[in-house]
């Protein structure tokens, strides 16, 4: 066995009363790649920020080569041989590759940059990665994958012993990803320890020797990859608790189709998607992160282009074929990031509620907004959704997450669409607020709306869905009824991948 390079022992960290890390311990050896897996908010980034010197731990020890160390700043981390390749690529596009590599460490002579020296060194640094662009190439002419290699080359300049990759493949094409994996394999051979953070499980099987699974700030499992079957990792990631707390519900499913998607394709992303969404049902779209759920919603609503496929709306006995961009006219869209995409945070509750329905609020006499009606409508839905506010003019930014989400939903209620798409409608809400949103979704379905819900928290999804579609790698791999158990859903989402991974 090779040398133990890194050892984190019993790391604890508390943020504003919340225990983000509850005593996490990790070992990593020279020349191996360690995967850090877990859902969003599990504590992966917190742990790595502690290792990278960005934040201090409350307690616990870090050992490098069996020596205890304290890391107080990112600079100190670099001095200890630890570098971080961040998810977003930090590049200066109008500068050259060499300039990007040396931007804060230019070798100079009498105040002038030694251009030839940086170019030569850049060539050497890039060659280690099998990357042979001239060093004077402007970064703006590189693809995202090439830019990431420049970023890695920059990380390598300090001769690190440990490199942390945070979701490195999120903006890469398949081909670029394979090349990145080659680079990582090459680094391992030189004895570097890689820590690989991701939520894309199948990548881990390709390049990692060891894995740790984090959930709610705890290591729930880990070990050598060869001892960890795929199914088991999935179960650990999604939570092994098979609690019956999920209210068992009767299927409300009717046979009247409202939205029909046939043969939808988007090259490399979605493959032959067929969906029938019925009146009065909640359809749960389930799949692991990266299975194409959000991509599917984006494609149906015209946010991403599609290569082929037909979308039809059945309404009042007529059927009409629509373009993806027009779907929005029928659909109330509750987006994943309400704070970024859904709400105008500095504006009032009333303004936010009226936003989706401004033409409906125009006075009958002239094309101006009828202020009295605006207030009346907003009040109606504030009451109906039980939104806790001091008044309609309260600024949305000051509301709690649950109430903000209700404002987003209330906005669509004013327009009364026949279809809703909800992407992670309960993310980041507390238990009480989740229950209320769940109730509202149920009521909307009772009233006859067709609702498509996406959630990465399986329990959440199970608490509202009448029927499930299971996605995996851009395909719908199963359709399951309301009574399906959690274990079965996990198994179905994971089985195709397990097959390919082995």
């Amino acid at each position: 066995m090779s040398e133990l390079t890194l050892r984190l022992v019993d790391i604890q960290k508390k943020f504003a009363g919340v225990q983000a890390l509850k005593g996490v311990s990790i070992d990593a050896y020279a020349g191996e790649s360690v995967a850090l897996l877990g859902p969003n908010g599990a504590g992966k980034s917190t742990l790595m920020n502690i290792l990278g010197g960005v934040i201090p731990p409350d307690s616990g020890n870090i050992f490098l080569h069996d020596q205890p160390v304290e890391i107080h700043s990112p600079l100190e981390a670099v001095r200890h041989g630890i570098t971080f390749v961040h998810q977003e690529i930090a590049m200066l596009p109008t500068l050259t590759i060499a300039e990007n590599l040396f931007i804060t460490s230019f070798p100079t002579q009498l105040g002038f940059i030694k251009t030839r020296a940086i170019n030569d060194q850049a060539v050497q640094a890039m060659a280690r990665l099998g990357f042979y662009f001239p060093p004077t190439t402007k970064v703006s002419s590189l693809s995202p994958g090439d830019r990431q290699l420049v970023e890695i080359a920059r990380a390598l300049l300090s001769n690190p012993k440990i490199i942390i990759f945070d979701e490195p493949t999120s903006s890469l094409t398949e081909r670029e990803k394979l090349r990145l994996f080659e680079v990582i394999q090459g680094l391992k051979v030189t004895g570097v320890t890689i820590i690989y953070i991701t939520h894309l499980l199948y990548e881990v099987f390709d390049i990692c020797e060891r894995a740790y699974i984090l959930r709610d700030g705890e290591i729930v499992g880990g070990g050598l990859m060869k001892d960890l079957p795929y199914q088991k990792i999935v179960q650990m990631m999604t939570g092994a608790r098979s609690e019956q707390a999920v209210a068992t519900r009767k299927s409300r499913q009717t046979s009247e189709t409202i939205l029909q998607v046939t043969g939808l394709n988007r090259s490399g992303v979605l493959e032959d998607i067929n969906i029938e969404l019925h009146k009065g049902e909640v359809l749960g779209l389930w799949g692991l992160l990266g299975s194409g759920r959000t991509e599917l919603l984006r494609a149906i609503t015209g946010l991403d282009p599609i290569d082929s496929g037909v979308i039809q709306i059945h309404e009042k006995g007529t059927t009409r074929k629509i373009r993806p961009a027009d779907t929005k006219k029928w659909v109330g869209m509750i987006t994943e990031n309400r704070r970024e995409e859904g709400l105008l945070l500095p504006q009032s509750v009333k303004d936010n509620m009226s936003l989706a329905n401004l033409t409906g609020l125009l006075s009958r006499l002239w094309p101006l907004i009828d202020g009295r009606r605006e207030v009346k409508e907003a009040e109606k839905y504030v009451q109906r959704l039980n939104i806790a506010i001091s008044g309609l003019n309260q600024v949305v930014a000051t509301l709690s997450g649950g109430n903000q989400q209700k404002v987003v939903i209330g906005r669509w209620l004013e327009r009364n669409p026949i279809i809703y798409f909800m992407d992670e409608p309960m993310r980041g809400l507390d238990v009480g607020a989740k229950a209320e949103i769940r109730k509202i979704i149920g009521e909307l379905a009772e009233a006859g709306a067709a609702i498509l819900v996406v959630s990465s928290e399986l329990e959440e999804l199970m608490s509202v869905s009448d029927r499930y579609l299971v996605m995996d790698r851009g395909r719908i791999v199963a359709e399951l009824p309301c009574e399906t158990t959690k274990e079965e859903l996990i198994a179905r989402a994971a089985e195709a991948k397990a097959f390919e991974a082995r």
Partner: protein, 343 residues
């Protein structure tokens, strides 16, 4: 051995990048053919001599623009700096060896004040320099009682030196080259470009963003004063509207020369030479044609608009290009040229 990377749609980019070279050439040919006196050595020299101070003035402002910021107080700074030094020479007979450096010091100090307000008090650059424009110009008009002022004898005599015109061009060229080297060959210059790309990313990489921005404003104040002095020696008098509207002339010279208002792009040589000369040449040519001077602002406005439009078009094109190459990446082989030595 190392192959160049090929990119699609080169023509469009070339057109946008070098469009003003073409316009410059067309204007030059047009004036040469339609007027008798345009294409004479003496007139061309006149154009260069008038353009040189503008180019000199614009070098500092150009660094501000390269960081993605703006300075519209340059005209006012120039006005106060010139008036203060000149007045002390006229009324208090101050030694020119003190008075002239004092002018530069005033320009430098006002630039530093701009930089301080923007980087430390964190006030928007446009608002800061707009306030400076009004404040400094108002103060100067108060000092001069809105009177015109002749130049101090020293400066007048200097302007009458033999070969003064050639000297102005030479001095402008020397400063231009110095500034060009500062931007292209020193870490400071790269940091200017880095900030212009994205202040956030630059900061994350460890560039001292505020210091960099501060220095560019100091340079802006200093260079406009140096350039302004050579301008005044040509006209012998400080009018009460001295420097008015210079901000836009100088910004236009920079943008015409390919220095993007979005920051992070452009160069002093040949950019500023081209930009400054185009504006002066257009007016010179119009004078030769006998066009009424009242139309000059219109023409100048048209050129400025064209330059800014090209700038904005260029950056939207490069965004489109990024999307195109991202898509193309999926279908085309990876563009990595391969190890040297291989075919």
């Amino acid at each position: 051995m190392i192959s160049k990377i090929r990119r699609p749609f080169n023509l469009q980019n070339i057109l946008l990048s070098y469009g003003f070279v073409i316009i410059f050439a067309l204007l030059f040919i047009f004036f040469s053919l339609t007027t008798k006196n345009f294409l004479t050595i003496d007139n061309l020299l006149t154009i260069l001599v008038s353009a040189a101070p503008y180019i000199l003035m614009a070098t500092g402002l150009a660094t501000v623009i390269m960081t993605g910021n703006i300075d519209i107080s340059v005209g006012a700074i120039l006005f106060l700096a010139m008036v203060s030094g000149n007045m002390l020479m006229l009324t208090r007979s101050l030694n020119p060896w003190i008075a002239i450096p004092l002018m530069f010091a005033v320009g430098l100090a006002l630039g530093a004040l701009n930089g301080f307000i923007i980087t430390v008090l964190k006030i928007n650059p446009l608002i800061t320099t707009l306030g400076m424009l009004f404040g400094v110009r108002g103060l100067t008009l108060y000092i001069t009682h809105e009177q015109m002022m002749t130049l101090a004898p020293v400066l007048l005599n200097f302007g009458k030196l033999p070969y003064f015109r050639e000297l102005v061009i030479l001095i402008a060229l020397v400063f231009l080259v110095l500034m060009h080297i500062l931007i292209t060959r020193t870490p400071f210059g790269r940091h200017v470009m880095a900030v212009g790309n994205s202040p956030e990313i630059a900061a994350r990489l460890g560039v001292r963003v505020k210091t960099t921005i501060f220095i560019t404003y100091v340079l802006s104040g200093l260079m406009v004063t140096i350039g302004g002095l050579f301008q005044l020696m040509q006209v012998s008098v400080i009018v009460s509207r001295e420097g008015q509207g210079y901000e836009f002339t100088l910004i236009a010279a920079a943008v015409i020369g390919g220095i993007s208002l979005f920051g992070g792009e452009g160069n002093m040589i040949p950019g500023l030479i081209l930009g400054g000369t185009t504006l002066v040449m257009a007016e010179n040519g119009l004078t030769q044609l006998g066009v009424t001077p009242y139309l000059y602002p219109l023409v100048r406005g048209g050129i400025i608009f064209l330059a800014m439009y090209a700038d904005s078009l260029k950056s939207s094109v490069s965004k489109t290009m990024a999307v195109i190459s991202e898509v193309a990446e999926k279908f085309l082989p990876v563009v990595n040229p391969g190890p040297p030595g291989e075919k």
